[in-house]
Symmetry: C2
Subunit: 506 residues, 2 copies
């Protein structure tokens, strides 16, 4: 692979970042546009990434005492209406079911049998899960209730983009009810930390955990916390949110409990969610001009063996040898489980195979041809250094260093992304003019270009959020990690108690 | 538990079988009716059963070369219309999305922004997945394509019943495309066998694998195969189906491939599905008058430790001891994984706890009180013999026999269900009068009553299926296991080549 200067993805990031993204999604067989507006088909390679993210999250949810359950897809309008801010936030983008039958009319099928009350396809499930909680909870002994749901949701998108913004997406939504505010707030932070762990430690995507500003809160929440990642165009991607809902939803749905003293109180509830959008963030963090690069911990395959067969007589011995290697390597472990090894036995040109796996981002490929069968070795290429010369290694050498190699790739990808973010994060912006100039410079293709994140004091005045909108900038979060003390707001000069991350975003 | 003659579920199966079922679903915290007509909320205990069934299936799907993917929830009407028999089969029960916004009208929310083309919520995904296959498949080298999807689907039910018949349900649907009929037919049988394995070997529910009659085929299929289970009221429950679709759907969606010779041919496709309905079958196979009994292989917990604490001073030592037992038993393995142990630390009466776990059907409970702490033992009760006296055993004895005990419970449940089915399966019905009398006797509550399955020669004449309908009976399947030769049809006396299973059904 070292010989070619041509990239496996065209255009490159530098040529056209937005189109590069689409081509990586396509070239890595991750997803495609569905014939339903705004929706996508998640192809096996993309779905498998999601399954691995799910696995890492689900295990942690269960370890922290959550149980999975499932609630209806459809929500009657009367539920949605209960929390005012909530309905306001979602009304404009809801798919509405109005009929429950099709009948032929003028030779074509048309909706028939109208519903007494229309229903929406859930954009999120606070209202219907809250209703269930109200039935389940009677006493302090029933608390806390800690539920998670893996589900599809719909939010009608006017400008859809694969993975990042689709009308239907897959996610998990956690919903919990607690006796006290302190316990609910602890839950909110525990789940935010789980998101950080999975996204940083499994997906190798560095994030900044912090609190959302008032203007960016979840509709109906008291506080919203987020993890924010930087993409390679310097823009932010919100990658998971955790909300303290206070008693807003418990009052709307009447989720009450009797205390030890016999008093009735409303529960303090939380919700938290992360979605298939994370895969979009993965692509824009680790993708390069040859396609996706998958961190080993979430890779569907860790190693792909590509047999190089030039004539039919070589087929048997080379494939047998590939099986021998696969068996040996599957006996090795990585991240607490056997190494995942695939043999690409497709009858197509071996160059084509190799570049398929480069585009899909498999961490390690091993090419084996007739000469390797004799020598007992293979040519190893690592995806994080795809332009390096392949290394010819013996099978013993490969087996001996594989686990370390995979951890090395995992950590390289993370460190590389952190370095990229650092290079595009300014914390020395002096005042509004400097601030404006920094973001004004983000024009056209901003891959490796000017601009990025600004970390600066902010007075948290709601009016400044409108001012930012004019620049196409938002407060991404008030990071949990604060220097303490106070400083002058970068926008107004007024005294500010917390620093914020400002950025353009997806 | 041996002392009480009162049952934990009221009414008993003998009193009112249908109501008993509802009370087990409720008493075991499996599910509840949602505030959306025909839909259910799956509670954690029920969802965990489903997750364990999913796990057993998903592993087998992957081992046999299938990959998971995800397709849109919504299907445009023009897709649904493509396969005539298919639309005919589903049109009457489809939820239709017609709008994508809500707006306030006269102070209430109402649907706004009509869609150009209405869409249905998928009742199944042959049409939309077929469309994707048409894009993915070009050459014989692309075949076979073997995809599975875990998803929710909707079929508007007029007479819903929890788990058995709900407007929304969870399932998996497999969809494959092949170059030859032979290969597609092999796939259909492989997947049927996987269903049989999971349902019999994990859920301990005996089934009869067979082919569906013409009248009972999936809309649009060439052949449908099924696994059929017997419930404790003698009725059949279809528990998984696998369809050979021939070229019907590939012609409708234009799924073609170029052969090695360069000719273009239509693929042979299959589909196969199993759903949360299986949990309904589990309840009606293994439930007794004290609630559910869960086979250990799919049990969310294998062992629940119930601390018996009469005063506060005992709390510390007894809970510590419970932790010691839990730790020890979690070090044991069952079915290739650590034993799943829960300590019920709720501060409610211990009698109440014990009966909660009986109703939920956890295979083994261990009661530990202050005396057991001193003696180093526990009182063991097995759910499959809930009315037996508890056994006081030492911790060593429990740990030493736990794995065998769990396998024993697994096999007892399966054998008991097989014996029940055998006792209610007649294969000596002489002719139509006898046949009619057998099914006419199935009146009112048929738990442990007359009737059940009939295994008899059948001429496969479509007209006889209408005749059966009048008796409320259907051909459940033509079992794969046939005696060979031929015999006189039990309905018409005409010569028949295959024997069929006849039954009333869910």
């Amino acid at each position: 692979m070292a010989k070619s200067n041509k990239t496996a993805i065209s255009p490159t990031r530098g040529d056209d970042y937005a189109e590069w993204y689409q081509q990586v999604v396509k070239g890595a067989d991750l997803a495609e546009n569905a014939p339903v507006r705004g929706c996508m088909i998640i192809r096996p390679w993309g779905y498998s990434l999601w399954e691995n993210v799910q696995g890492a999250m689900d295990r942690r949810f269960k370890e922290t005492g959550h149980e999975n359950a499932y609630f209806p897809l459809l929500i009657p309008l009367r539920f949605i209406e209960k929390e005012a801010a909530h309905v306001e936030g979602f009304a404009k983008e809801m798919a509405v079911v109005t009929h429950h039958r099709l009948e032929a009319q003028d030779g074509k099928l048309a909706p028939a049998a109208p519903l007494e009350e229309p229903m929406v396809i859930r954009p999120t499930s606070e209202t219907i899960i809250g209703e269930a909680f109200a039935g389940w909870i009677r006493s302090y002994r029933d608390l806390p209730v800690k539920i998670n749901q893996w589900a599809n949701v719909m939010r009608w998108e006017m400008r859809p983009r694969l993975w990042l913004r689709t009308s239907e997406f897959l996610w998990q939504e956690g919903h919990t009810a607690h006796a006290t505010e302190a316990e609910a707030r602890e839950e909110v932070m525990t789940m935010l930390e789980i998101y950080r762990e999975v996204v940083e430690e499994h997906m190798a995507v560095p994030v900044i955990p912090g609190e959302k500003s008032e203007g960016e809160r979840f509709p109906g929440a008291v506080n919203t916390f987020t993890i924010e990642a930087m993409m390679q165009d310097g823009k932010a991607l919100q990658s998971g949110t955790s909300h303290y809902l206070g008693q807003n939803f418990s009052k709307a749905a009447n989720i009450r409990f009797q205390t030890e003293n016999g008093d009735w109180e409303f529960c303090h509830t939380t919700s938290w969610g992360a979605s298939t959008r994370l895969i979009g963030g993965l692509i824009m963090t680790h993708g390069d001009d040859d396609g996706l690069r998958v961190p080993p911990r979430i890779a569907p395959d860790h190693v792909v063996i590509v047999p190089i067969i030039r004539d039919e007589a070589q087929q048997g011995p080379v494939m047998d040898y590939a099986e021998t290697i696969a068996k040996r390597l599957r006996g090795q472990s990585f991240d607490g489980a056997p190494v995942r090894v695939r043999i690409d036995g497709r009858k197509i040109a071996s160059q084509e195979k190799k570049w398929d796996w480069v585009r899909k981002g498999v961490p390690v490929t091993l090419e084996v041809g007739p000469r390797d069968v004799e020598a007992g070795g293979a040519a190893l290429a690592r995806r994080d250094r795809v332009r390096d010369k392949k290394e010819i290694l013996s099978l013993d050498e490969i087996a001996g260093q594989l686990e370390e190699l995979l951890w090395g790739i995992q950590s390289n990808l993370f460190e590389e992304a952190k370095a990229y973010r650092s290079a595009r994060c300014r914390d020395d912006i002096a005042g509004f003019d400097d601030f404006k100039a920094y973001f004004d410079a983000m024009k056209g293709n901003t891959f490796n270009g000017d601009g990025g994140f600004v970390r600066a004091w902010w007075c948290e005045d709601a009016a400044t959020e409108d001012q930012l909108k004019e620049l196409g900038v938002t407060v991404r979060c008030l990071p949990l990690d604060q220097p303490g003390g106070e400083g002058p707001c970068v926008l107004t000069g007024k005294p500010a108690k917390r620093m914020a991350i400002f950025a353009k975003s997806y």
